[in-house]
């Protein structure tokens, strides 16, 4: 499947390159530049059946000819091509340009390549200013290399065996309010912000309701893995009522856990129900402002259309949402909401439920696009995220109010 796809792309690219180069569709054989007898190209310090790492710099040598960048027609000169896992291309045609045929048109004589583990073939082929091999072709032997499995791995930062991280004032089985500040500490290891490389130091990660991630690579960054990359030792989290698990995992400047890993016990906490009379709206994270909190970096935006675009009368409006998730109306989940598409109305008050009428389209089932029909002319569109009760978040997550023109986008743009 993949091989087929690759070949397809190769074919298309080759045809494209050929037609562009010549300006006309052509299958005819190109004039080949002559090469002197005894000219040869070869790999430097790389022999057949060599075992090499996945990432490696390969050097090429040429004898009896000179290197000239592609496009520069010179006698007895040319540039290198590295053929990976492929047969020789037909002579008299430009060498294709794709992942199997690397061109060094700048006259390079070395290249860093990255290969998957396993056996691969490598061959060098010299070609003239037009990428056409010489006559006779100047090429190296085809060698086979074995790429060793287990690509170069970044060594994990070391941690003292007695280094510890722990929660402060929070024990297994504790009951906490829905919105609470979790504090943590560390012993025998220092705090350094993410990106700052320092011996025996790192930053905290708070794992919520999740298993430990693999310890030999970067900790994921999502709603279940909070990165405290500025070196924070506390985090404010809003959790829905019920049981949750919390765990701390320390990691180095590249978010990779230490060796040995420095982590806390996984503790269980119970988030209490609110004592509000109306249990339906039981998210008391909103108790303070009356509104559900949203991350500061959350944003909603139009994928289609964009500001000022001309659209068909019936168009599908597509929404994008950054740093939050979508949940149907009525669902209480931190950092989620549902979309509202506002057509030809100003931004409504942000402290009340978004009205439901023809101009305020609720996408209460979690939809992320909507097909609408509008009369010709100018219209405004705006997106606002609402919480389970259709109330905008705090801070509100809303898009710019964009202007679109309904017409026929393929005909001329309407007068402005």
């Amino acid at each position: 499947m993949q091989g087929l796809r690759l070949h397809l792309i190769v074919g298309v690219t080759a045809i494209f390159a050929a037609s562009v180069a010549a300006g006309v569709a052509q299958e005819r054989v190109r004039a080949r530049s002559p090469a002197p007898a005894g000219a040869k190209v070869s790999f430097v310090d790389l022999r057949n059946d060599a075992r090499i790492p996945a990432r490696m710099t390969i050097r090429f040598a040429v004898g009896g000819m000179e290197i000239a960048p592609a496009g520069m027609a010179r006698r007895n000169a040319g540039h290198h091509h590295l053929l990976i896992d492929t047969e020789l291309p037909p002579p008299g045609q430009p060498i294709p340009s794709d992942f199997n045929h690397l061109h060094f048109g700048g006259g390079q004589s070395e290249a860093e390549i990255l290969l998957s583990p396993g056996r691969h073939t490598l061959q060098l082929l010299f070609a003239d200013h037009d990428h056409v091999p010489h006559d006779p072709p100047v090429m190296s032997e085809k060698i086979t290399v074995e790429v060793m499995a287990g690509p170069e791995e970044k060594p994990r930062s070391a941690a003292a065996p007695n280094a510890q991280v722990f929660f402060i004032g929070l024990e297994d089985g504790a009951t906490i309010p829905p919105r609470s500040v979790i504090r943590f500490g560390q012993r025998n290891i220092a705090i350094a912000p993410a990106g700052t490389k320092q011996e025996h130091a790192g930053h905290h990660h708070l794992l919520i309701d999740t298993e430990l991630p693999p310890l030999d690579r970067e900790i994921p960054s999502d709603f279940n893995h909070l990165h405290l990359g500025r070196g924070q030792t506390e985090a404010e989290v809003a959790l829905p009522p019920g049981e949750h698990t919390l765990q701390l995992l320390f990691a180095d400047h590249e978010h990779v856990p230490h060796d040995p890993p420095v982590m806390s016990q996984r503790i269980r906490v119970r988030v209490q129900e609110t004592s509000v009379a109306n249990p339906a709206s039981a998210s008391d994270a909103r108790a303070a402002t009356g509104r559900t909190p949203a991350p500061n970096d959350a944003a909603v935006y139009f994928i289609y259309p964009r500001q000022g675009e001309v659209i068909y009368p019936t168009s599908t409006i597509r929404f994008g949402l950054r740093n939050m998730g979508v949940a149907p109306a009525g669902i209480v989940r931190p950092n989620t909401g549902h979309h509202h598409l506002l057509v030809d109305v100003p931004t409504p008050p942000l402290d009340a439920a978004i009205p439901a009428d023809l101009n305020h389209i609720h996408l209460g089932n979690g939809q992320t696009e909507r097909r609408i029909t509008l009369p010709p002319g100018e219209h405004t569109l705006q997106l606002i995220l609402g919480d389970d009760q259709h109330v905008p978040h705090d801070p509100p997550v809303m898009s710019e109010r964009i202007k679109v023109i309904v017409g026929n986008p393929r005909k001329q743009r309407p007068r402005r």
Partner: protein, 154 residues
């Protein structure tokens, strides 16, 4: 893959058992081979990539943006008709449609209803595919799955 399995720390058995009860909403339930009752999906429901598109060259760190037609997004654990949550399959083929989607580095669960995700991939050729899962992380019937696209990380 195997490395992930090896490095996953061996939690004490008992603790793991106790925790799995608490985690049942967040993680796919430990599944026997029997198939789950699968949620129906509308015939014309489609999940697709806004970005990247098939054959694109992308930087090592990029945002995958997901579009969904004729259905809605709901966080994992929310049982609501015609909704689901996204899974991004990286360099892997989808498993049997009657089994929950595994959770590992090749199957990224967007369990909070996210519609985009930032991924970091090593240089080279990779495949991406989107698969919608229901509240139990099982694909719908018929599965709402995107075309498998190939991208080149440079």
């Amino acid at each position: 893959m195997t490395r992930a399995a090896v490095t996953r720390p061996a939690l004490p058995r008992l603790a793991a058992a106790v925790l799995s009860a608490a985690l049942s909403a967040a993680a796919p339930p430990p599944l026997s081979a029997q198939s789950l009752p699968r949620q129906p999906a509308p015939r014309n429901a489609t999940v697709y990539f806004h970005y990247p598109l098939d054959g694109l060259r992308v930087p090592e760190r990029f945002t995958v943006r997901i579009g969904l037609k004729e259905m809605g997004v709901a966080p994992a654990g929310i049982d609501k008709p015609n909704t689901g949550h996204h899974h991004l399959l990286i360099d892997v083929d989808p498993g049997p449609p009657d089994q929950p989607i595994p959770a590992d580095y090749n199957h990224i669960h967007l369990g909070n209803g996210q519609t985009e995700v930032v991924v970091t991939l090593p240089k080279g050729t990779h495949t991406l595919q989107l698969l919608l899962g229901d509240h139990t992380h099982a694909p719908h019937k018929p599965p709402v799955i995107s075309q498998k696209i190939t991208i080149y990380v440079r």
